[in-house]
Each structure stands twice: as structure tokens, then as C-alpha cells.
């Protein structure tokens, strides 16, 4: 009983930033280089394990598979292709439910790259930027627009929707064309071949040029804004649709919240609800990456907790908060 209590205490008092840093490195190695060691987690992962990182990847991103699954004529989709789509979606949901949005905060290689760029900015003592409150709602909707487009365009290649002419085949993987992961993830294995503009058709010129523009924006944006790309990520929008029944949850005990705002200030995604909302229990919002920095930054005993299958695995404590404050004073990062 005493040991169990000690383990809980050790977890609650941990240096979250250090833990997350090493967890992300291991996940990055598995996803980006795992293929070289024979790792193959399938092609329905709820994270950016890039299909274009052909030999190194330890699994593949579901967004690529989803676009592929939808590019079928209605007749085929009513049979085999429809079943395949449902099975793939089911597998994606099963994978996703294990970690919920923790896939973004702890596993996503693109998220990890953004964290590394933010870290580099911090080391260079350059201040970060924020989106203005006026633009934030508009920015939030971009991910849903991208999700709708990536679902709709492949369907419109294989079918004439509302009597409109079929779209050119160059739009079969519309999100992959503009996803910065296509360029950045293979680059970590020494493959820079994805940096190109395709002049074979007008569609390819537009899509590959957009891809290059997004890559440039990704690199600079992630340097000056924490988790810059996650605000626009259609994977985050897709995940949010299925996040309610997930096994890993971020819970809040509103009665214990003093609305001090420490959790909000620690949040890379500037989620206001984490500090402001004292009525909801489940605080996994559409932008949340479940990085758990808010839990680490909360000074109130048991106010915020990460729970897996209803069992608390990490919660805010006064002791943990004070220890992390002391780490901060010693110059160690603890969670903010």
C-alpha cells in the first residue's frame, strides 16, 4: 500500500518536461526510423507517420489511408471499398482511443519537431508569438475546412457529385500534397526528394507549390509560435470527433479551481477553457494535445488529472507544483 502511494507521489512530482521530451524522442525514433528495424504498426495510425518516408516509417498515417479509401466509384464503395473504409476507420478509432489526443502531445513526429523548434527559439532567447483573439475562431475553423476538403476531393475524383465534372487525379491525396510532414519527415532520414514542384499538370503545379509554401510557413511558424501547425491540423479535427469515449482523459474538478490561470499560461495551444471552465469535467477540447502541461502547472490538490480508463495516472498536487517551481528557480524546465 505504501509503495503504491510512493509511486503515485513520484509520478505527481515528476519533471513532466523531461519525461515528455524523452517520450517524444522514443516515439519519434519508432515512427520515423522504425521501418529500418522492421517495425510496422500498420497504416491506420492517428498520427503523422508519413507514407512518403517509405523505408524508415514504422507505421503510416490514417489521413493518407482515408483519402485513398474514399477515392472509389459509388458502385465499388457500396461493396468491398466501403467495408475496407469502415474497417480502416474502426482501426483508426481503436488506435486513437488508447491515447486520445495524447497522440498529438506525445507521439506525433510533426508535433515533436514543432516542440524542438520552440525549444531552439527558447535557447536563442527569442520571444514567442501568439494568434490574436480576434483571429482565433477563424483559425480554429481552418482544420475543419481542411478535413471536409480532404474527405470530399477524393470522392469527387471517382464520382460526379451533384452533376459536377469529376476532378483531376492530381487531387487524389489533397492533404498529403500540402502536409508539411511529407517534406519534413523524410528529410530526417536524409531524403529531401519531397521538396519539388510538379509541372506535369496545372493541378500538380498548384498543389505542390502549396506544399512548399506550407513547409516554409511550418518551419518559421513553429519557430515563433508554439505548436503553430496544430491549430490547422485536420487530423486534430478528425480525432476530436471520436475523442469523447477515449480511454485517456483530462479531467477537471471545478470546485477546486481558483481560476489562477497557471494552466492557461502553461498551455501551448492557448486553450482558455482549461482555466475558465469550472463546470465541465472532461476538458479535452478540439485543440488540446493532452501534453499535460496544465496538470503540471496547477497548484491545486487534485484539481486537474489525467485518467486512463477512469484511473488517475497523473494529477495536480501542491507538493508537485512546489517541486516544479523549485526546479524552475534552479533553471530546470518543469512544465511551463
Amino acid at each position: 500500500m505504501k509503495n503504491k502511494f510512493s509511486l503515485r507521489r513520484a509520478v505527481n512530482n515528476m519533471n513532466l518536461v523531461r519525461f515528455r521530451f524523452w517520450f517524444q524522442i522514443v516515439a519519434f525514433l519508432l515512427i520515423v526510423y522504425g521501418g529500418y528495424a522492421g517495425l510496422d504498426l500498420g497504416n491506420k495510425l492517428p498520427t503523422f507517420a508519413c507514407v512518403y518516408n517509405s523505408e524508415g516509417t514504422g507505421g503510416k498515417c490514417y489521413v493518407g489511408m482515408l483519402q485513398h479509401d474514399l477515392k472509389h466509384p459509388l458502385e465499388t464503395f457500396a461493396g468491398y471499398a466501403g467495408y475496407a473504409f469502415l474497417i480502416s476507420l474502426g482501426m483508426f478509432i481503436v488506435w486513437f482511443w488508447v491515447l486520445n489526443k495524447g497522440w498529438c502531445g506525445f507521439v506525433c513526429p510533426l508535433g515533436t519537431m514543432q516542440d524542438w523548434l520552440s525549444m531552439l527559439r527558447g535557447k536563442m532567447k527569442i520571444g514567442y508569438s501568439e494568434y490574436s483573439w480576434a483571429n482565433r475562431e477563424k483559425i480554429k475553423s481552418v482544420k475543419y475546412i481542411l478535413l471536409i476538403l480532404l474527405l470530399l476531393l477524393p470522392v469527387m475524383i471517382a464520382n460526379s457529385v451533384f452533376g459536377l465534372p469529376k476532378l483531376p487525379n492530381g487531387l487524389s491525396m489533397p492533404f498529403c500534397d500540402i502536409c508539411p510532414g511529407r517534406m519534413m519527415i523524410p528529410a530526417f532520414t536524409g531524403d529531401f526528394n519531397q521538396f519539388y514542384i510538379d509541372f506535369s499538370s496545372k493541378t500538380d503545379i498548384v498543389m505542390t507549390t502549396l506544399g512548399m509554401i506550407v513547409s516554409g510557413l511550418f518551419l518559421v511558424g513553429s519557430f515563433i509560435k508554439k505548436r503553430f501547425f496544430c491549430y490547422f491540423c485536420p487530423m486534430a479535427a478528425l480525432q476530436y470527433i471520436f475523442s469523447k469515449p477515449a480511454l485517456l482523459k483530462l479531467n477537471k474538478e471545478g470546485s477546486k479551481c481558483t481560476r489562477c490561470g497557471d494552466c492557461y499560461r502553461a498551455c501551448d495551444m492557448d486553450i482558455l477553457e482549461i482555466a475558465d471552465d469550472v463546470t465541465s469535467k472532461n476538458l479535452v477540447t478540439e485543440d488540446c494535445t493532452l501534453c499535460l502541461k496544465c496538470v503540471a502547472a496547477c497548484p491545486e490538490e487534485g484539481c486537474l488529472e489525467a485518467a486512463f480508463m477512469g484511473k488517475t495516472i497523473f494529477e495536480s498536487t501542491k507538493e508537485g507544483f512546489l517541486l516544479r517551481m523549485a526546479m524552475d528557480q534552479r533553471g530546470e524546465k518543469h512544465g511551463n
Binding site: 526528394n193 521538396f195 475558465d276
Partner: protein, 304 residues
Amino acid sequence: MVSLTVPSFADTSLWLEESKKKGCCKGGEPESGAKTVTIRKGTVQENTIVRDVRNGVVYIRETDNTITQQKVTNGEVSFTPKYKGSYQLFFEHKEVHEGILEVTLSTLRIYNKEGEIVDSLLKEVRGKTHDSQYGREPFAPLPFDLILQRPIKRHHINCCLYSGDIVPFKLYYRGELLKNVPLSVQMETGWTNRIAPSEDGTVSFEIPRITYPKSEKEKKHSEKMVVEAAYDLNESGVYGGEAYHGVHYVMSMPLSFGASPLEYESKTLGFATAVGVMLVFSLGLYYHRRRKRKTPKEIYFDEE
């Protein structure tokens, strides 16, 4: 004693070719998933279906490595693949001609895009991430085998072959790697060549870049080629009641390739666009920050 010969393409041996379906559906109904493969003879440019192949057999290696055997009827073989995935076909034809047992072999990979969902449920759940079309194991029922290894590419597309790719092959006799057997290659455009093996037995060549697009609409043009190897053995025996004093193996592999993506892609411009965007974005931010001091992230939640 072993001797080597290089086949002449004037009388190219037989090879397999998949008959392509036109369109996906007939009368609004999806077609059955049947695949038809024909036996062809001639050059890649001019060839005909060989209707009178006697003793011709096609082995079909399924995705789960089970092997089925079919007789060639009227120059073709039809089968319905059950699963989604790669099917490797092997054609074998034997006959004694002027005291020589002539063994004509050919191999072809077919990718089946659709399959019965009930049978392939586990495969779909698992997902497939690594392609197995390169560097397969030698096919045990055939003594002589030609195997395509992973090509070396200078571009980003891994699924298919393109001009400019270096394609390595290995030849096996009864599972043993042959290190001194050359290859003959013939392209649809008429280009032919004899390729000598390297010291480790790999025979490789760069798919010639003679497929430059003819017009704006043909940038993604594709072309066929046939790769062929021959191997002679001084063996004697009897086949079909006829005695022979030597065996002549010929193995062919038809392949198709597209025009290299490098012909219509610009990496320099890609990098320049990304770097240009970075520069413009960075400078914009720099001047924006100079003009407007950043306000601290400060909101007081305890103030109603």
C-alpha cells in the same frame, strides 16, 4: 559443363501479359475481379498471342504464398484473385527440340486492388505498409528464376518504375545465385541491350531516358520492356518420350515504366519556394515585432 547464351530478340521467347480491363464497371455493375493473362511471342513492339501452347502451365503464387497451377487454354489463363495484394505468376513450357530440352519460363506480378472482404478482413485490419514486390524468394517449382531487386531511384515515387531508375536483377538456378549470366533487355521503343553481371552476380541497368514526353498531355507516358536471361546446361534425359542431351532455360520478365518524375519536377524551384516563403514570413514578423511590442500572455481569471 555450363555454357551461356544471350537470346536474340529476333525470336524472343514467350512472356506473360495482363489483359487490362477497360473502365471499372459494366452497366453500372462492378465487374467480377477475374484477371486474364495472355501468353505472347514476338518483340515488345510487334507480338501476338500464342494460341497453341501445348504443355504450358501457369503457377499462381497467392498473397499467402499458396501455389495453384493452371493449364494454358487458347493462349490465356484466367483466375479470380481472392485477396487484395500482389500475385506472382510463373509460366513454364517444356519441349524437346533437336535434342535440346527447351524450358521457356516467364514471370509476372499482378496487383489486385480489390478482394473479398471476409477473406481479407485480418489483412485490412492489420494494414499493409511494406511492399514485397522486390527481392522475393526464388520460386521453388521452377529451376531457373529471375528476380527484380529494389530499384535505385533519384526521385520520390517508390511504387513503380520510371526511366532513369537503376533496376538490379538476380538470377538463380535451383536456389543458388548465378554470378555469370547476362541479361537481355528490349524496350517498346525498340532499344535493346545485353547487360553483363557485376562481380556479386547482380545484373543492373538504368532504364534509358528515351521516353521524353511527346506533348504537353503525355508527361506521364508509360512504356513496356521485357528482360530476359538464358542458361544452358549439358544434361541428358528423356522428356515426353523424347531424349535430350542438353537443357536450354530462358526466363523472361515483362515490366512497364513511366517517364521519370524528374522530367517534369523541379527540386530547385521547390526549395526556392520554401526558402522564399521562410524569408518573407521571417522578415514580416521581424518588422511586425519592431512596430508593435509583444503584449504578455496575461489574463486574470479571478476578476469577474
